[in-house]
């Protein structure tokens, strides 16, 4: 499998690795959440101390799960939309091996204290080089596939995916350039350019690209408006990049940079509204399909969380709201709504649709998939609500001048509830892991009757 040149083998390898890292990353997140309520749990073991676990969790779910799943899905979508073979499955498989080694190395480095100390860019230099080489090689594979296409017109998903593969190596390089030493605040500005654009130029563009592919495909209806989708693409390309400074809005960085960040953050409402209008108008008259179409249900749940998170984003980037909400648990809640609620749900839906197709095998169990949906959804609601309310309590504490040791006690119930929600999601995703790996093994016979129509593997032609 590792060095095979079989069609879709790279996509399959990427998705399998992603699901594996998802379970590892969520286990870390859950451990961290429990440590909030039982802080002495990590006693004496540096590797599981919360402060080391948090960056490891972020890097594992961001680069291990979400990036690899996005790439795996993109490697299936691109050949389908261009009606051509992937430029080289063998090369992509090789990249996947390197990427997995980079994630493994990254986890080992971060838990053992080898870190660069910049948020979202913690991975040490050798791992950065590995990831950058992987990204550049993948861009090469993706662009060569697009150049060799047999369909003339580019569907909007391809615009998004090609855009992401163009931007991400640049953004990653800027964020992790350690050989150029910048003074404190300049370092912070560049750090947050990277920290925010890895979301905007990579996760958002790929996630929205995937959803643009999945919704028409799963409903069997054409996209509502192509010109609107192009408007969304170009506005996201223009508006996303300068917004990073809103993470350090009240630090002493130049005012014009903050103003730029706020204005562009608010302008991000435009791409969000266009994208979601397009999704929901495509769904018009097709909502009944949610009843018996599990992948579609995942993708649309993701779309609703995308709406929530993207309305929160511009609102909390304005100075007066940021004044109150910054530094609190509200913000990690928002980050989870984007990466877990929206893009992870897009990917779940896409994987349930794509995985039987790339392996040519029957999905192991539809009921496990349904349990996965409900555990993750309900767990996420509990988790997100706890985060949000804890954030409001915390900011009230800051602004009344109550000392930290006082309001920390008030937050205990929210942290317990958050860990419970996280535990539900963790359980749901262990089921997902079992389901995907059993599917890969081909446990269920191809002619078995109990399967959702959207998950039937299409015989290869």
């Amino acid at each position: 499998m590792i060095f095979s040149n079989e069609e879709n083998s790279a996509s399959r390898f990427f998705i399998l690795s992603a699901v594996f890292w998802l379970v590892i990353g969520m286990t870390m997140g859950l451990t961290g959440a429990i440590e909030f309520t039982a802080p002495d749990m990590s006693s004496g073991i540096p590797q599981i101390t919360f402060s080391r676990l948090r960056p490891t969790h972020i890097n594992t779910v961001a680069f291990g799960w979400l990036s690899m799943a996005n790439i795996g899905i993109a490697l299936y979508i691109i050949p389908t939309l261009t009606r051509s073979k992937l430029f080289s499955d063998k090369f992509a498989n090789f990249i996947c091996v390197v990427w997995n080694l980079a994630i493994l190395g990254g986890i080992l480095c971060l838990t053992n204290g080898y870190t660069e100390g910049r948020e979202y860019a913690e991975l040490p230099v050798p791992i950065d080089v590995g990831v950058l080489i992987c990204l550049l090689s993948l861009s090469f594979v993706v662009y060569m596939t697009a150049v060799n296409r047999t369909v003339k017109k580019l569907y909007v998903s391809l615009w998004y995916i090609l855009g992401a593969f163009f931007w991400m190596p640049i953004v990653y390089f800027i964020g992790n350039r350690t050989f150029i030493r910048l003074d404190g605040l300049n370092d912070g500005i560049v750090n947050w350019f990277y920290g925010h654009n890895i979301l905007g130029m990579w996760f958002t563009t790929l996630g929205v690209g995937i959803a643009y592919y999945m919704i028409p495909k799963l409903t069997g209806r054409p996209l509502w408006s192509h010109s609107l989708s192009m408007l969304g693409f170009w506005t996201i390309a223009f508006f996303y990049a300068p917004t990073g400074t809103h993470h350090i809005l009240q630090s002493p960085v130049p005012e014009w940079l903050k103003a730029l960040a706020v204005v562009f953050s608010v302008a991000l409402v435009i791409p969000v509204i266009t994208v979601l209008t397009n999704f929901f108008m495509t769904m018009k008259g097709n909502w009944w399909q949610l009843a018996n179409n599990l992948p579609l249900r995942f993708v649309l749940t993701g779309a609703f969380f995308y709406l929530v998170t993207c309305l929160q984003g511009p609102f909390q980037a304005t100075r007066s709201i940021n004044w109150y909400l910054h530094f609190t648990q509200w913000v990690p809640g928002h980050a989870h709504a984007a990466l877990l609620g929206a893009f992870t749900f897009f990917n779940f839906g896409a994987i349930y649709y794509i995985f039987p197709r790339v392996t040519g095998k029957q999905m192991y169990s539809v009921s496990l998939a349904r349990m996965h949906y409900w555990f993750t959804l309900i767990g996420f609601f509990i988790f997100y609500t706890a985060f949000t309310i804890a954030g409001l309590v915390q900011s009230a504490g800051w602004h009344a001048g109550v000392p930290v040791s006082t309001w920390v006690v008030e937050l205990q119930p929210y942290w317990i509830i958050r860990a419970l929600g996280g535990g539900m999601m963790w359980f749901g995703n262990v089921l997902f892991f079992v389901n995907i790996f059993q599917t890969n093994r081909g446990v269920k016979p191809l002619d078995s009757p109990d399967v959702e129509p959207a998950m039937v593997p299409v015989p290869k032609n």
């Binding site: 909030f36 402060s51 940079l257």
Partner: protein, 318 residues
Amino acid sequence: MNKNYILPALVILTSFSLIIFSTVLLPNFIFKPSPSEFAVKYSPLEASGRKIYIREGCVNCHSQFVRPQDRDFGVHVQAGDYVYETPNLLGTIRTGPDLSNEGGKHPDAWHIAHFKNPRTTTPGSIMPPFSYLKDDEMKALVAYVQSLGKKRLVKYKRIYHPDELEKLLEKRNVNTNGSAEANAGRGIFQQNCATCHGTHGLGNGPNAIQIAKKPANFSRPFFKDYDDVTWYWRVSEGVPGTRMPQWGRLLTSKQIWYLVAYLKTLPRENEVYPKEYETLDPEKWVQQYKISADELNSQKPAMIIETKGPPPSTEGGH
């Protein structure tokens, strides 16, 4: 390559490079703050402590910048404070307190006990224990934490009794009876005190609801007995056991004198100003109330009127 895609490709390239130029390169060309007096140039021990701070991921819970709205956190940071801070440790979340002014707040032994098990020094804390740090690492980390903020808050020396302020009185360069000074003090009061003490100093600010020991109402008669030094001492030292902070750590001595000038003008409760107050001739007042001109000049009229005017009304303030 198909010619249809040359134009969009060019647009992508130009727009993206323009944005990168304006948000990544331009700030580095035009934003070069010079080191401020609080920029810490780390000693080798402190620098190795900073590496441990980074290694242990302290930045994931502790920020290092004081925002304008953070009261009681100390002096606001300036751009120049961060010149030697690479990589930046600004932080984006405060699960624990801000550490910009941590240096000198606690003795070294406190920090070591706190790192080994935070619950021994701070009950209810959820900070993980760092008991696995070796002794030399611990020493370096404590040295780094003590260097934060260059002890800007601890330069302040505590005054234990108002009598100690007599020396301060000699150096005073603010006329605490002047109306311009009182006006300057009013601004400082509205910015720092009004949230608890209320805009009229009646102890009914918005935060007063949440405070168990209620903030002082300055219209109470005994406040009228305070002399300048007592006022200064109260403001500068705070009130132990209440939420009244030690403003001497946060405000300059000149600012506190302005504040004293304003606090002295606050009216006594149930006191009513005669309507003709503005137009009164001081000469007539001297005759009417039998006080000397010197005494009149040394005090605000509000303090000598007492309640000789019309019957008391329930309204406070001016």
